[in-house]
């Protein structure tokens, strides 16, 4: 039963971050390869002040401001650069932030991470985490569902398909892109504030590049831009990831086999969706 609550908590706490990324990469077709860079700023922006004597509300407020600033930076770069150049730039910014976090030992304790993260008073058991994250996830899904179905979602769709035509119809690309990135940043903040309390630790290994690959896999496998599809794929892939440890395989092979399996899943997902992942613009 404990494992069930753990799985529920893991899935629900990932939802804000992954659905936020789905909004940008899946629906907006923006090559945002730096969602974990945003997560890095959100995580350290909250927990460094917290571990240096700030209260939770003020630490979260600082983290929120820093997350919005880094999200705005990514939005500005997405507007300024070519799509593939933005992808590479986003990776470079993510890795630069990670290098700072790892090497600024006096502030972040480097690769040792920040231990003994205090939990909210109402989040003391796995079950309470599962219930709380379930409520948060539900609210986030509803919010994004409304957003996807509304005029903002349609604007994002139009921009993803044909930038110039969408512009000629009066859609403000700058505004839509900035909003999408800010929502993605808010999702990253929510997920990371809860996750670090759950594991009592802030660690750079939770913020490195392979984490981003899991995000891409979930979005591509679930159907980019689709909230129900991405939710299904998140549930299945998390079950697979967490469930693999119960397979009768020596523990030293589990990591490699997981990597192999996830690589194959990503490849098959792209193969199946090769016409729809980055669709050609419709023409008259």
């Amino acid at each position: 039963m404990q494992f069930f609550w753990h799985i529920v908590a893991m899935i629900c706490m990932s939802i804000p971050n992954i659905l936020g990324f789905n909004l940008i990469f899946g629906k907006g077709k923006i090559f945002h390869f730096g969602p974990i860079g945003v997560s890095t700023v959100a995580t350290y922006g909250v927990f460094v002040p917290l571990m240096h004597g700030f209260s939770y509300p003020s630490a979260i407020a600082i983290g929120f401001v820093l997350t919005m600033i880094i999200s705005l930076l990514f939005a500005w770069l997405a507007l300024r650069l070519e799509p593939d150049a933005f992808g590479v730039m986003a990776i470079a910014i993510h890795l630069s932030l990670l290098a700072v976090v790892i090497n600024w030992i006096s502030l972040t304790r480097g690769t040792r991470g920040l231990p003994d993260i205090p939990r909210f008073f109402f989040l003391q058991t796995t079950q309470s985490f599962a219930l709380f994250t379930f409520i948060i996830a539900l609210l986030w899904i509803l919010f994004l569902f409304v957003l996807h179905r509304g005029s903002f979602g349609r604007s994002l769709d139009a921009l993803a398909e044909q930038l110039w035509y969408a512009g000629s119809l009066g859609i403000d690309r700058r505004w839509v892109t900035v909003i999408a990135f800010l929502i993605g940043g808010l999702g990253a903040l929510i997920t990371n504030v809860i996750y670090c309390q759950y594991v009592f630790l802030v660690h750079p290994s939770d913020l490195n590049f392979p984490v981003f690959i899991f995000f891409v896999m979930v979005v591509v496998a679930g159907k980019p831009g689709s909230v129900p599809g991405v939710l299904c794929s998140l549930i299945l892939l998390t079950l697979l990831r967490e469930g693999m440890r119960f397979l009768p395989i020596p523990s030293e092979f589990i990591g490699s086999l997981r990597l192999l399996l996830f690589g194959l899943i990503l490849f098959v997902a792209v193969w199946v969706r090769r016409d729809t992942l980055f669709p050609k613009a419709r023409s008259v």
Partner: protein
């Protein structure tokens, strides 16, 4: 001066990898995010042929290069060719999948332990105050020879002329009877051979480990972005430049007061990417496409 020598050694490795990658980007316009893993496969395969199987080093190197060629050909047929005609950004995602599969294969076949390829060449040689081992000098010379050989092939042969035509405009080249699809394969295989040569270089000079694959890829991309996308010689030059700056960053006693932590060495390549994409996205040596 010693920092310059260290930069030359590291730059030769980066130049090998970046040169092949720049060629692929110039011809196909696709990013290959599994490049670092291709480097490692070349190095690990050579180590495997040489150490556990006991083959002579020269034969192991040839087999390692062949392995790199075979892997890049298979990668092209499975992970690039079926996708890049649908959309040129699709290989960006499929090569992420390939990098995961290759990482897993390396861990399953050769385990996580760092490996190095043993050589017999030993003693230190001193040149105008710079010290290097005989092996390191041989590796630098081999890299330069390989790059010069490629330069001759690229600029002075009919094959090179066809290759340059495809780089400039594949459709126009095809209309003149140049077999562009075949040349695409050859270019991808050549980049795989260059990557495998980089892996062998790395295995001989340092150690092979799965953790270095992605930083190698990033460094190669920094070189091709700074050098001008698709410009092979710009990428090679920038690979040397990045390597020398990396050495200077952590080796110089800045203002006589502090040293920069070695952990920041990898950020030089990242800063190159950020600075060039923001202020000079066409790179230092961009070549414009010829139009009718």
């Amino acid at each position: 001066m010693q920092l310059l020598m260290n930069g030359l050694i590291a730059g030769s490795l980066a130049a090998l990898i970046a040169g092949g990658l720049a060629l692929v980007y110039g011809v196909l316009g696709v990013f290959n995010l599994a490049l670092g893993q291709m480097v490692l496969v070349g190095g690990y395969a050579t180590w495997w042929f040489h150490v556990p199987l006991g083959l002579p080093l020269s034969a192991s190197i040839v087999l390692g290069l062949l392995m790199g060629a075979a892997l890049s050909w298979a990668s092209f047929e499975l992970f690039v060719n079926p996708f890049y005609k649908h959309h040129r950004f699709l290989p960006l995602v499929t090569t992420i999948a390939l990098s995961m599969i290759l990482d897993a294969a390396i861990l399953l076949l050769w385990s996580e332990r760092p490996r190095s390829i043993p050589t017999t060449g030993g003693g230190m040689i001193s040149i105008v105050g710079m010290q290097a081992t005989f092996t390191q000098l041989t590796l630098i010379m081999c890299t330069l020879l390989l790059l010069c050989g490629f330069a001759c092939l690229f600029h002075s042969t009919p094959f090179g002329r066809k290759l340059r035509a495809v780089v400039q405009n594949p459709l126009a080249a095809m209309s003149l009877g140049v077999p562009a699809p075949l040349l695409h394969r050859i270019v991808f295989i050549m980049s795989g051979v260059f990557a495998a040569a980089g892996g062998i270089f790395l295995g001989i000079d340092q150690t092979l480990s799965t953790t270095i694959a992605f930083p190698l890829t990033i460094k190669a991309y920094a070189a091709i972005i700074a050098g001008g996308k698709g410009n092979i010689w710009g990428a090679v030059l920038c690979a040397y430049l990045i390597a020398i700056l990396e050495q200077l960053l952590v080796g110089v006693h800045w203002f006589g007061t502090f040293y920069v932590s070695a952990g920041y060495q990898s950020t030089v390549a990242l800063l190159f990417i950020i600075v060039f994409l923001l202020w000079k996205p066409q790179g230092l040596f961009a070549t414009s496409q010829r139009l009718a």
